[in-house]
Symmetry: C2
Subunit: 479 residues, 2 copies
């Protein structure tokens, strides 16, 4: 008690060593921690509260479009995983296998799900019989496991949490529409809730999901100019429904195979939040997704009436906002200011004896450090305006940065130069040949992010081979 | 189209073959289905919606008491699981092991969590340093795996969903109080939400959780007179914190080991719902937890204005209730009535041309088959009263049955007779010797359910050995 601390543990400078800065934030803001299970993290309360906010927001949007939640087994027999050729090739190398259970060797090993297309397809073949049963629009919130070699908290963890939606439809058109509809929901989640602008488009065949006919993506750009794939939605056609025998009797009484989709977002979005918004002071959370939207820090806490006034304010704001009050005895106000900034809380409210005398409090914004004096009688109303403004401002700041970091290249030299000097996205024309894609990757380290839905005409020829090209692709180094 | 069906697929008579009746309900009400992963079920939308309602209700109560949600790895290294002797003895035989991953044999195998005391303890030892960090009151909603030999959907599935709370405290008293507090929350969930009366008490040492100092339980009684353990809360003392080195500096600057608890409820509660309330017509869901509280069935749907009136009523009720409208063309109203009764929807609203003419609708209660005519202008208000009344009535019906099925025995002969003739609970005095517990089990098949908090003096001697006894125990055959 009484032992005063006035500093927050150091965070690595964001522009000196971004990777280390990221790790510092994850650990010091107590979002997650490493565990004895190599490559797997423990998501701590503050990190999990972010995930819960993402879940609640997303799940409501899902349900409005008729999505129904289910839960399927975490264990998938090896035989089942192998039924779709491209799919197993894509996932087999990363699979974890259960070979013993209940004290015995198993006759057939089980995979821990890396994704559940096979399990859903297998069950859909059992559940589907008539066109009347269609569509089936199911989703599950669950854990999955992929045995990655290099791992990083949230971004690439062996186990992660996600939702995986799997749907079947009577027609190709309906399935395609559902694929795009779910991509639009991801856009809404990432832009409106997380305040991160997205680039929407279709993946090139090389970057497609294992077994898909088309993969659509929402791409985001991080502080260091690297891209992060934030959500994907896949159209499978009948690639799974044929080997898995998912068929139905149509209105004319004929048997047909169903058309399928899947779509997912994961705890990776927490990594996106950290890297899109953070700065040298630490994490910076958009108000809509922040577990704590505002923290009240009493100043000169032991002066008459300060703690009481702060508590009264807290009680009032609690009804409408997610608020904390910091009455820790062992820390100075200065320490607390830094600490809550590092944890990314959008608004700090300072309240001292002078403020109370004047019927005011001091509101400090995390996004731009602006200090505003606000009457205690109007703070309850004004706060929501301020939070809205922060949300918008954070989105716009990212948008501004993306703009600056979106380059155009018509030759490989321009491509390399742009990427080395400015990072970010590179827009080019592309002939459609995977050889050019591979060459660009080798030369620059950039992957194609997507073929944006909003196409522009940049040039007449492919940035790589110089042949006629009519498709614009956006490229970038990636997480 | 137009093909009329007037019957619902047969459900086994509940009193002829309860086990088969149970399976029929699970499958035909589409709560869950079997999968190719032996012993693991797929929880279908209707079943999962029940689980979501249980989760939402419970999670809110948790959070009010300061519980914070986290997520820890599903894989626990074998070494970690073995650190607490009793615990590993209890769980090792049921564990599933990951021995290969990423294409390689692992040096040390990982267990899929059967429960997470060891993982939490391991992390707490890292996270805890000062008394200021205490208590830590963490919980996770997740999947667990126990390789059971005999499985039944919801009741005993190899994989199931649950919440597991794990807390550490500075004092024994605080930890014990938390253990009891969480048991009270389970009581509230099971009684108020699920309308199932509980018997609260402490488990005998023989029935305790592996590694616990005390296990508290909420016990429930099913339609067939068998008992079901519906939730448990454990006090561990320092049994885990010592081997896992979970210690803190107390206010006096001395190192101390923390005191620990854990507590859980699972998807087993869906099994309890089925078996506590169901009848020959099928499932019977209490309104508070029912995914669909009321279904509107238009009668003579193709007569002028019927469908429109039904839709208008649906739109109105939707704002306040969870409502469905059944406009399927291929089924007759009679079929629909049976179908929704089988699915346990608490209230059916019938609306035909005559009703519309009279400005009325017919409300049919699932709990007692009562039919009530209600004006269309007052149904929106009245419905909530009816649902409340059904909720109360269902609880009271169970309570009444429990009363009838609670037997008192002072000798083993009385014990056997009661159990054979009346099933249910048997209250007796018990000397405290595990030998008597074992003998009763052998003779009658009954396990001790608990030592109820509310003790009664039934006799002076143990029902088994005849020695002096001052403890009342409740026994029963169990799920």
């Amino acid at each position: 008690m009484g032992q005063e601390k006035n500093f927050v543990e150091d965070i690595t400078n964001i522009d000196e060593n971004f990777a280390q800065w990221y790790t510092d934030i994850v650990l010091k803001a107590e979002l997650a921690d490493y565990t004895d299970t190599k490559g797997c993290i423990a998501i701590k309360p503050y990190g999990y509260a972010i995930w819960e906010n993402i879940q609640n927001y997303t799940d409501k949007l899902f349900k409005k479009t008729g999505v129904k939640n289910v839960y399927l087994p975490v264990l998938i027999s090896e035989g089942l995983l192998q039924k779709e050729k491209d799919h197993v090739e894509g996932f087999a190398p990363e699979v974890a296998l259960v070979t013993k259970a209940g004290g015995e060797e198993l006759e057939e090993a089980y995979c821990i799900r890396p994704t559940s297309e096979t399990m859903f397809s297998n069950l859909y073949s059992k559940w589907l019989s008539s066109w009347r049963d269609l569509p089936m629009v199911y989703n599950q919130w669950c854990n999955v496991l992929r045995w990655e070699k290099e791992t990083r908290p949230f971004l690439r963890s062996r186990e992660f949490l996600w939702q995986e939606g799997h749907t079947i439809h009577a027609t190709k058109e309906e399935a395609e529409a559902r694929t795009r509809q779910m991509l639009d929901i991801y856009e809404q989640v990432i832009q409106d809730l997380l305040a991160i602008p997205v680039l929407k488009g279709r993946k090139t065949p090389k970057e497609q999901f294992a077994g898909a006919e088309a993969t659509y993506t929402v791409e985001t750009l991080m502080h260091d100019g690297r891209a992060l794939q934030a959500g994907t939605s896949h159209y499978f056609g009948q690639n799974f429904t044929k080997p898995f025998n998912v068929k139905f009797q149509n209105k004319e009484g004929k048997e047909e195979f169903a058309y399928q989709t899947s779509w997912g977002i994961s705890t990776r979005l927490i990594g996106a939040l950290i890297m899109a918004h953070g700065d040298d002071r630490g994490l910076k959370l958009p108000p809509k997704v922040a577990p704590i939207q505002s923290v009240i820090v009493p100043v000169a806490m032991h002066k008459d009436g300060v703690k009481e006034s702060a508590m009264a304010l807290y009680e009032k704001l609690c009804e409408k906002y997610r608020v904390e009050i910091d009455v820790r005895e062992q820390y100075s106000p200065g320490y607390k200011f830094n600490d809550w900034e590092m944890r990314g809380v959008p608004v700090r409210i300072e309240l001292g004896p002078r403020d109370i005398e004047n019927g005011k409090c001091v509101v400090v914004r995390r996004d731009n450090q602006e200090k505003i004096e606000i009457g205690l009688d109007e703070i309850n109303e004004k706060l929501s305006e301020i939070l809205d403004d922060i949300q918008t401002n954070m989105f716009n700041m990212c948008k501004e940065r993306n703009k600056k970091r979106t380059n155009i290249a018509t030759t490989l030299e321009e491509f390399e130069k742009a990427l080395n000097e400015n990072q970010g996205y590179v827009k080019t024309m592309w002939c459609g040949d995977v050889a050019c894609e591979n060459k660009i990757k080798e030369l620059t380290g950039a992957h194609s992010r997507c073929i944006p839905f909003e196409q522009e005409h940049i040039a007449n020829t492919c940035v790589c081979c110089g042949k006629t090209a009519s498709t614009m692709v956006v490229w970038g180094r990636q997480y």
